[in-house]
Symmetry: D2
Subunit: 369 residues, 4 copies
């Protein structure tokens, strides 16, 4: 279980790191949405290994095929099947790992849960699983853009202690894509790149944070109580590999100021639209979007695979030592950006459709206006 996500716009993913490929079924996409392989490919290329010298050098073209649900470039309203064939599987890199549990990886927990695990490459616990998310997210983003004018921009906000200072109201995807580290501040990006390259040489890894803004979300998305918009966003983002923390708006820092400082006053702009001059709420109040940009931040731990000898146990629970090999990321952050964007898009489109479902035309009872 666990490979499906969403209520009305629902995706189901499958595929292991070292099997024939990875796929996703998207069920509930509205009909007549323009969707092409090129649209999806553009997002997959941002997630793809080997895209720059900063990330793992596994060579995957990650070419997507649309197998169903689209006709002449338009969605049919029925389930969409997407498939990406695996190309570069060097299973020999994993020989030693067949019986040794990699520290802070899921080898041990999968073995204990299922009594079996995919020996090569981590199976479903591999970040390769996110191909399905990003492919489906590309379709979600297309719906959000065309039907609602929503724009989602994520970026690398910090690598270890190197932090950027970015204005979420104006940052653009072009700025983000201008450097391979996906930090839209050029000077900070340089420092991050230098740190990641030094870390790679050390055979070590570093973590950091992704920040994201969703602009154009109308007031009214999200549900009371359990399916609050921030709750679904938290689940979506925290389900990504290596994610250890999530914040909306002021987040943990918001606990350091008083209520009178924290509250976002309401005002009305010239067009009569309600807005808040500050946005510590992160665009959501009581679980429902308030029309301001949605602001969130996610923490990604340093990648668990390091090229150093580490203490561990084998699958007979005997002590042993393991030295990481294979082609892994010294820093997952640049590739995490499209993953976070995809998950946010999947949550937003789902709540958008749920809100559309409420627009049932109920006539006013007699005597009311």
């Amino acid at each position: 279980m666990g490979s499906s996500f969403g209520t009305l716009f629902r995706i189901s993913t499958w595929g292991e790191s070292h099997g024939p490929g990875i796929g996703v079924v998207v069920d509930g996409c509205p009909p007549r949405v323009p969707v092409t392989e090129a649209l999806i490919q553009a997002e997959l290329d941002r997630r793809r290994p080997g895209q720059s010298h900063l990330v793992t050098q596994r060579r995957e073209g990650d070419r997507v095929e649309i197998l169903s649900g689209v006709q002449d470039g338009l969605t049919l309203g029925t389930s969409i099947g997407l498939f990406v064939r695996n190309e570069d599987q060097r299973s020999r890199d994993y020989d030693e790992m067949a019986h040794k549990y990699r520290p802070s990886h899921a080898d041990y927990t999968y073995d204990a849960k299922f009594g079996i695990r995919a020996i090569s490459g981590g199976g479903r616990a591999s970040a390769r699983e996110t191909v399905g998310r990003v492919a489906a997210g590309a379709i979600a983003m297309q719906v959000l853009r065309l039907a609602f004018g929503v724009e989602i921009v994520g970026w690398v906000d910090s690598v270890q202690a190197i932090e950027a200072e970015i204005n979420p109201e104006t940052v653009t995807r072009d700025q983000v894509e201008a450097t391979p580290v996906r930090c839209p501040d050029p000077a900070t990006a340089e420092a991050m790149i230098a740190l990641i390259e030094a870390t790679r040489k050390d055979g070590n890894s570093v973590g950091g944070t992704v920040r994201l803004v969703a602009r154009g979300v109308p007031v009214g998305w999200g549900e009371p109580v359990f399916d609050k918009l921030e709750a679904d966003l938290a689940k979506a983002v925290m389900s990504l590999p290596a994610c250890k923390g999530f914040e909306l708006g002021s987040g943990f820092a918001g606990t350091l100021i008083t209520g009178s400082e924290h509250n976002d006053a309401y005002r009305t702009d010239a067009s009569g639209r309600v807005f808040t001059p500050t946005n510590r709420s992160g665009g959501i109040q009581g679980g429902i979007s308030n029309g301001m940009p949605i602001l969130l931040r996610a923490a990604f731990k340093p990648t668990a695979t390091v090229m150093q000898a580490q203490e561990t146990v084998d699958d007979a629970h005997q002590p042993t030592t393991l030295t990481g090999r294979g082609r892994h990321d010294p820093c997952v952050l640049p590739r995490a950006v499209p993953m976070v964007e995809a998950m946010v898009a999947l949550v937003l489109v789902d709540h958008a459709l749920r809100q559309v479902a409420l627009t049932v035309p109920i006539p006013k009872p007699d005597g009311l206006n």
Copy 2:
């Protein structure tokens, strides 16, 4: 929508702050679990307003009635109906709020989403809604304790900048309950209490963090990909009113160290059980519990209701000023502890049942051992 939570142990809540009462339906609780009104009441009393001078003075006994699903103190395996009647509703406190949107409250977003809202007391956006969560959580905790030996302890970790230093391996609920602020370190608790009381006098509010440990969770709970244990925990906790951030294990601080520092080595104890001497993973790897204590932290913003004049708009979107009145919490943290515990219990019991469902007896194929 949004008032249900869980897959196999599923709850549905209803009730507004100022209506006849609050209730919850628990569907999927295993049969023959000892459940009494006293068991549930003990948890509700920890969430209850008026329990100490630190929290809102609304006077609610919060007496729970079991209306179905339990016979002679044992669950029947069928849906359990619980009901708590509202007692102290001073709607007049809300007269001014009927047409003015309280800053950083959900008045505006509910009105915009539904075209209508419960005028008094916030309706479903009131923290009173959490009565249903805590009542259901008491049953979840009972299953976890009796069937699996799991123990959940939450505490107030910080109020504004005052932070406690607590050992999650040894902290007990008795220590937590020893002070009204629910911080198990007595000296820190004193400082927190002083800050909250000063804040109340100012008519202001403060936020802080709750930390929680779940001890005794066996290896194997949680699902791959989307329903990772930390993802479901994040959703559960972030769905609580005023929650703005969530961390598992090392959280955001974990991004500041390298992978070789962050990884948790595996070892085997005398009984052959695998463990990790460090626990930066927070007890979960790849979405699945690893047998170590589950460690998490949640940020709660300062309460939005402050007794000071604030700029806002009314429901005709005209500028106005609103001064908070009514009986509200200067600091939600002490009452947040049982809420976080309840949500964690609901997630854990659900994943426990999902894992039990996998224990189908599949015979080994011929020739395998």
Copy 3:
């Protein structure tokens, strides 16, 4: 599990035959729908025991209380809590049944499944459980009527071998309600009543069929593949106590003619609307409503409780004999009519909302018209 139904308009029921009462939570009802206790009561009165001499004489007023989700007669869009207190519980009638399994009842299966069961009155397996369905169905019908102009009429089509011949295009609820047996053909109704009264004197029971028409359903409700409209209708109706069969349109009889005879030709009426002069499809094609009346039929077995000695076993699996006592229905059919209507309404409103969710405004790509 199993006490919830629906995707977007979702209900959760609770309550046993001999506990404090029965309730239902309705989550997902659109906001601003006029809903009163009187509206719901009118449907409950049609399901109520003691409504005529034909049905069980248990005396239940079945007075519904709205506990949440409605303000000044309009739904809030949040979860609606409904409660009906049990009034007349003669548990002594059940003393003998505490240890003997009633033939063709669920006593044995509940005991085997759960290791415990509600001793009095059948617990959740009692038809009293349907109070929650009918109450929620009243709200569903209100949405269908006001927002979509849908009208649902069910009637008793046969009691044992006595069959009515009713025109589904013109039959009205007034005609149905004109006799206590709910068969809109007066002469057939008389014969049915005579049979039921004779059966009661014999201490025996009879079954029969309910037929139902839903008029005004627009084209487009229902989903491809698994959530076909007829599939969800079948589940809904077959989940009612004592229901053993379901047919859409031509049903089993349709297997006796050829394809060229069975097909419904398409024509266009004066207003340009597509229709079929015949309706063997029962208003659904490929799982999706086609704009014609939805026609279905359900079989209800003779009630299992008969006032005659029957061979059975006790809960130690020893052979014994049991003679039915208590106040039971010789024929469930008259009371089944509002139950079937409620279940059909719940399915239709859910699919209506799912279809509304698809009406996302997707702009046409350039170059298309």
Copy 4:
């Protein structure tokens, strides 16, 4: 929406009749179940077109590929991806149908619902969609067989008015597979074959019924109220293309006898096991299996495609005439048998896992035995 089925053993299907292929994702299959392509292929071969002269002559090998979730012949417990490539797509057969609605097909309803439809071959409304069901059902059957000893046998019970008389306690799949019409009574099978061949020559079609027995289902599968085992079976079977009716046990005929005749007495066999000498209940009481064989019957209408001129309208709603062409089934019944079996297997395995989830070890409270 609508392309997913199940709660714990959950499948999601995709693929159109005339696209690249058909697939299914199976999520929630227990780990370590022996599954091979050969196991699945055996069931697909029974569903396959061109398997005999009785069915459509479209030439599809229907070769299944396992793309994920299985390693060295054992399931991993993670999502299983299955793919069947389409081979023989004669789209030219569909030219005329691009703008004319085939009577009693879903062309019109899909167009009206989605504003677009797959022009060739019916898209998701084609019976080709059932490839995914049958492939997933093969895995479900393997779990049922290995873990629970359940055996499912379906057969063609009637073709038009030709009915077989088969003993459900003893019928075997070998007997069913002995004739291409899948009726285990050889003489009746001959008559059915003759009728189908005559019908094909006429360019017409015939319907009929499938009967099915599931033997070895233990007592306790199924849930109270809405997810009754018969309700989920009804939904599953009624979701198959062309299915118009469903009966459990005595079904509609059961309404013709009295309660004292209809009730199944309980007895205990030599081993202490409770059974019923009759089985009018069809193996289910109160929604929960009672340990007796599960007996059901499904009605399939005559195929809508007939080789005769029929009155219809085009997609501009203008009257026109359409004469069926292409390679279609004069009688869907022989191929419906594996489809019904697959759907029943999917329901049973899901409820089996739900019941396993309830086997949480709850210790008895002190003082109870």
